[in-house]
């Protein structure tokens, strides 16, 4: 079973959030990257653009497929991980840390209440499997 860090929050769309004050660092979970397979390309929003909760903020392409990235929060993008341009492989190799994707200034901190802690995300994954 995969380990999901306790200091992150998780969406049901397999996106993680690290909260630092009113900023949210966002990436995809280890489970998401595993389902994708080897990532080839990524499309991320521009700095100063808005992302909206439950709406796509980008996409990743792996062998034979693309996956939309669904934003867990609404806010303004203040940073994008430029390291992914040089080494997209870190999305696969280190998804919960250096494979982060964007930093968002959170509009409404209450939106964090809808996210899951690591235990809740773990249970959610099990439910997804059992719901098959």
């Amino acid at each position: 079973m995969k380990v999901f860090p306790d200091d992150l929050l998780y969406s049901r769309e397999h996106v993680w959030v690290r909260v630092e004050g009113d900023l949210a660092i966002i990436g995809i979970t280890d489970l998401a990257q595993e389902k994708l397979g080897e990532v080839h390309s990524i499309e991320l929003p521009e700095i100063d653009s808005e992302v909206e909760r439950d709406e796509p903020f980008g996409a990743v392409e792996a062998a034979k497929g693309t996956v939309e990235l669904i934003s867990p929060l609404t806010g303004n993008v203040i940073n994008v991980n430029e390291d992914l341009i040089d080494d997209i492989g870190i999305v696969n190799s280190d998804p919960h840390d250096t494979g982060w994707m964007i930093v968002v200034e959170i509009n409404d901190l209450d939106e964090l209440d809808d996210l899951l802690d690591s235990r809740g995300y773990h249970d959610f994954i099990l439910q997804e499997v059992e719901g098959d």
Binding site: G37, A59, G65, T66, E68, D132
Partner: protein
């Protein structure tokens, strides 16, 4: 298990085809509608490019204009596909459907196995590629058919069908093109890069790509192929298909997507840089 809907074969204008597929996909996302298989053709020649492809680098737009070939962007990934005499399919279902494993490649394999069985019913021996294009080994050619990927369909070592997926909010869609016949010259005309001598490029493509009518008589009709594929999907998955048209919500969304998204091709063109 939810009943499957079959949207039977019909030809549409190129951009409408993409709008229909995405409308079905979004409605399955939104309303949890039935898993769907759609078979379709193209009312006029078209080239579809992958979600991430850079138009100017991959497609000779002048050649397309001169040849009456419409360029459309697929919502799915992958490389460029020339659609003229092909049979295109879309499979749309929830990621939690028990028929499909969790990963993109495993799901791809499950669908490819159905296509193998469908071709087998027509008397054609197809196999799944055991190895294929991976990152770092990417082909420089724009054409989807230039290099087989893992689990793609090969007949006598040559690729006959190209497919790709998209996923979002727990739903996946796989689109694919099964070649009824293949025109390597036309493919070389519209896809970049153009290489010299051209005859070598055409020959190289001929050696890598095949089509149904390279192996089957013309008496085998498109309807026969559709029927074989439908039976194969039903047999392999032990499901029954119920024929159905688009819902009113899907029709409305299709019109919206057509007007707002599929008329626009500027993404990743020279006016708009490509992704990393």
């Amino acid at each position: 298990m939810a009943a499957w809907r079959l949207v039977p074969f019909q030809r549409y204008p190129p951009r409408e085809n993409m709008a229909i597929d995405e409308a079905i996909f979004r409605e399955v996302q939104r309303s949890g509608g039935p898993p769907t298989i759609r078979l379709y053709g193209w009312m006029s020649p078209a080239v579809s490019i992958g979600h991430f492809q850079h138009i100017d680098r991959e497609i000779d737009l002048d050649a397309c204009r001169q040849g009456g070939v419409t360029v459309v962007r697929r919502p799915t990934g992958g490389k460029a596909v020339y659609h003229d005499d092909d049979l295109t399919y879309a499979v749309i279902a929830g990621e939690n459907n028990t028929l499909f494993p969790p990963t993109i490649l495993e799901t791809y394999r499950v669908i490819s196995k159905c296509l193998v069985q469908g071709l087998h019913k027509l008397g054609l021996e197809a196999i799944l590629a055991e190895e294929g294009r991976m990152q770092g080994q990417g082909s420089l050619e724009a054409s989807c058919f230039s290099v087989p990927s893992l689990h793609e369909l090969l007949v006598q070592g040559r690729k006959i069908c190209g497919s790709a997926q998209m996923r979002s909010r727990g739903v996946f869609m796989q689109q694919g093109s099964l070649l009824m016949s293949f025109d390597p010259e036309k493919t070389c005309d519209i896809m970049l890069p153009h290489r010299e001598p051209r005859a070598n490029q055409v020959q190289a493509l001929q050696e890598k790509v095949t089509s149904l009518y390279d192996h089957l008589p013309r008496s085998v009709t498109r309807e026969d192929v559709c029927q074989s594929l439908i039976e194969a999907f039903q047999d392999e998955w032990a499901v029954s298909f119920a024929e159905g048209a688009l819902t009113a919500a899907e029709e409305k969304l299709k019109d919206h997507l057509l007007a707002t998204k599929y008329e626009n091709l500027t993404k990743y063109s020279s006016q708009n840089p490509s992704p990393p």
